[in-house]
Amino acid sequence: MNAKTVYEPTKGLVERDFHYCPGCTHGIIHKLVAEVLVEKGLLEKAVAVASVGCSVFSYEYFNCDAHQAPHGRAPAVATGIKRVRPDSAVFTYQGDGDLASIGTAEIVHAAHRGENITVIFVNNAIYGMTGGQMAPTTLLGQKTSTSPFGRDKTLTGEPLRISEMLATIPGAAYLERVSVHDPKHIRKAKKAIEKAFDVQMNKQGFSMIEFISTCPVNWGMNPMDSIAWAKENMIPYYPLKVFKDKTDGDNDE
């Protein structure tokens, strides 16, 4: 037989099944991050910092050293690791409940100090693991288990745009929002991750890639509908773009 290998699992992931729900995009995002680590030769020097939420067990999948952090504190844990091991490749993997709510101080100040870490921020506009409660990123009118009548801005404010907020911070070197709802966007997302790790390894400062993601179970949709819902509802409010790129020379305050 003379078969040619056209696809094989990345060595950046441990060989095991994901525990994520069908239609959730964590699997795609994990794979993209793992591929980038392998392709850039960073896997052996990588430390993944897992957060609290559905991705609490991400350290079970990333095939590198890992450190599980308290809720919201992943950027602080990553800071500690990177400061004492400056040659390592440190990334946090955080959801929107973790990063955009309880962890706002840690994410803002990691960016503010210009920590040479990479943040993978997965935004699906809801708390997944705890059962679908409202997050700061939940869209107006969106029904969740703690906004049963739909999110009302007079009571709970309007959805928080983290990438836009961090773009105002001088220490943030690279910020981009991407989506993985179709192959074209998946390829674009991988390029963004590559860029973020380049920024880190070149010691240019803080980098974060925000992913528009889904939560079919807590949104009450099937996987296909949830992909469509993310595209039609989330992307208009959370536009896909580069918010900050200090490497291009003209976005440097």
Partner: protein, 357 residues
Amino acid sequence: MAKVLMKGNEAMALAAIEGGCDAFFGYPITPQNEIPEYLSRHMEERGRVFVQAESEVAAINMVYGAAGAGARVLTSSSSPGIALKQEGISYIAGSELPCVIINVMRGGPGLGGIQPSQADYRQITKGGGNGDYHLLAFAPENLQETVNIIKESFALADYYRNPVMIAVDGLLGQMMEPVDLEAAPKTEVPPEKAWAADGNSDRKGGRNVITSIHLDPLELEKHNRKLQKKYDEMVAKEQRYEMIETADADIVFVAYGSMARIARSAVKTLREEGIKVGMIRPITIWPFPEKAFDELPASVKSLLTLEMSLGQMHEDVRAANNGRFELDFYGRTGGVVPEPEEIIDHVKRMLEKEGSS
């Protein structure tokens, strides 16, 4: 090396440097600010890590990350700041990581005050954070003893893979006293930390993971029993205390830290007046030195616990005494530092009461 006159907080910071501290993460709070101030200059000069975090919560989580990556790490704070750090301390203990925490105690609860206090005793010895865990906790009484213990503490933290807390109060932090940093024990070279998640996963044995989560109750119970074994070893090996003139004492004080030092003056004065008093001075407050109580002769009439709090350690004294001797308590709190005369007066009242009964 000759003795050098140093402020307590600065001496503690220097002792940490000499103890091999690789990294410090902290947040300003009175009365311990001279620790980060000193380290901000001297760690950087030595090419070591100093970070002023955005909060105590962030600082302890930076400690968590750096300790997980295998570094010798220090943080310092004072009572309400230590309260904020409890989340991280529990994770660090749960993940079996070494670190050293200096707590320069002030009055509470809440924002309380900034004057010296020992009202963190329960916070330090009874958990503070969630879960079945303990800190190895020292409460030295003078600056020489403090620097000796700090230098040693990094090795102890590494040995037990557990946080070590150095509990002093604002008086020790703020006072000056001559110290000889070379009189302290030689710093051991850190052991190889084969468990560290430091971005070196092509090591023999594969990748390392630092975590405190165990969702299976049986697995978590097994983990807890493993931790408990370490705490049992600490109870067996690490109880430290000093017996001061207890052999013929009628009344035995129990006091630690600054309070013990003040009580020493009272012991001296009362002895000069022919009143037989002595003292048990706990040097570790966890493990609590129960062994000291076994050493007391049957001729003792009563124990007098002295604290700069309203009787937090007294609960442990009661347990260690186990009904053997009469118990009494005297304490000041809120940042009031008692004078030796108050203790002397209290002892005289005890004797009068005894005489009249």
